[in-house]
């Protein structure tokens, strides 16, 4: 089953990127995708317990999360914009390093939490070691908001299967 998943994951981008639907190009795509799927399926799908429905539900939740994240990115930009253009910039800024322990367990969810922290207002991830996050915050209020609602959202999407 994992071979089929890998094949689909590889073949759809092939079709989109090549943009040609004659037998030569599609045939090459099928050949390459099946070879790579045969060799590398173990890398892409390590979670053997998940069912197809579970994977699709996870994907749907992830798309919803992306929507929420996009809103946060816009807020983050307005925040940087406001601080950068303020004539009293030095009063608004109070940069600081914050350390906290995350409860997330999977590597993927930690990676997504780190990237989400970077994209949300006033915080950038500096380092992740084990479950210890080192985060640089631009202002006091941003530092107080860590890790906040984001960690719970990510835990809801990626830590449970099914």
């Amino acid at each position: 089953m994992k071979y089929l998943y890998s094949f689909v994951v590889l073949f759809v981008p092939w079709l989109v990127l090549s943009g040609k639907f004659d037998s030569v190009h599609v045939g090459m795509g099928v050949l390459c995708s099946s070879l790579v799927a045969y060799w590398c399926a173990d890398l892409l799908f390590q979670d053997k317990a998940a069912t197809l429905g579970g994977r699709l539900r996870q994907l749907a939740r992830f798309v919803g999360y992306m929507g929420w994240l996009l809103g946060q990115v816009i807020l983050a930009n307005l925040h940087v914009f406001r601080v950068a253009l303020s004539p009293r910039m030095n009063e608004l800024l109070s940069p600081q390093m914050v350390e906290f322990d995350s409860t997330l367990e999977k590597e993927l969810s930690k990676f997504i939490l780190a990237n989400s922290i970077t994209l949300t207002p006033g915080t950038v991830t500096v380092r992740v070691e084990g479950s210890r996050f080192l985060v640089h915050a631009l202002t006091d209020s941003a530092a107080r908001g860590l890790p906040g609602a984001m960690e719970k959202r990510i835990a809801k999407i990626f830590e449970r299967t099914g």
């Binding site: 981008p13 989109v16 990127l17 943009g19 992306m66 990115v73 816009i74 983050a76 930009n77 940087v80 914009f81 601080v83 950068a84 253009l85 910039m89 030095n90 800024l93 109070s94 940069p95 600081q96 390093m97 780190a114 990237n115 970077t118 994209l119 006033g122 950038v124 991830t125 500096v126 380092r127 080192l134 640089h136 631009l138």
Partner: protein, 100 residues
């Protein structure tokens, strides 16, 4: 649809301007990375979505641009994170309010 494209591209450029001003005005390496890491992502995405709106009938092109947006969304925070970590490892001291 065309006008929406122009509006999105202009907004993206305004955000780029804010990013650049932040990059120039912020006091140290870390705060500058805040401006660069966040501003780049949103303004690039806005300009690319604007490009989709300008050529509305080409589904394949839209899908390709969406793929680019997807990779920018993954790549840009990761690159910011790598540079922040490199600066931290090299011992760049964070700017503090009382340091000057």
């Amino acid at each position: 649809m065309g006008y929406l494209g122009y509006i999105l591209i202009s907004t993206g450029l305004v955000f780029f301007l804010g990013t650049t001003i932040g990059l120039l005005r912020f006091p140290d390496f870390y705060t500058r990375m805040h401006a660069a890491g966040k501003g780049d992502t949103l303004s690039t995405v806005m300009i690319l979505i604007g490009c989709i709106c300008l050529v509305p009938m080409d589904l394949l092109l839209a899908l390709k641009i969406l793929l680019i947006i997807h990779f920018i969304f993954i790549g840009s925070p990761t690159a910011t994170h790598a540079m922040m970590d490199a600066g931290h490892k090299a011992g760049a001291a964070p700017w503090r309010k009382d340091s000057k």
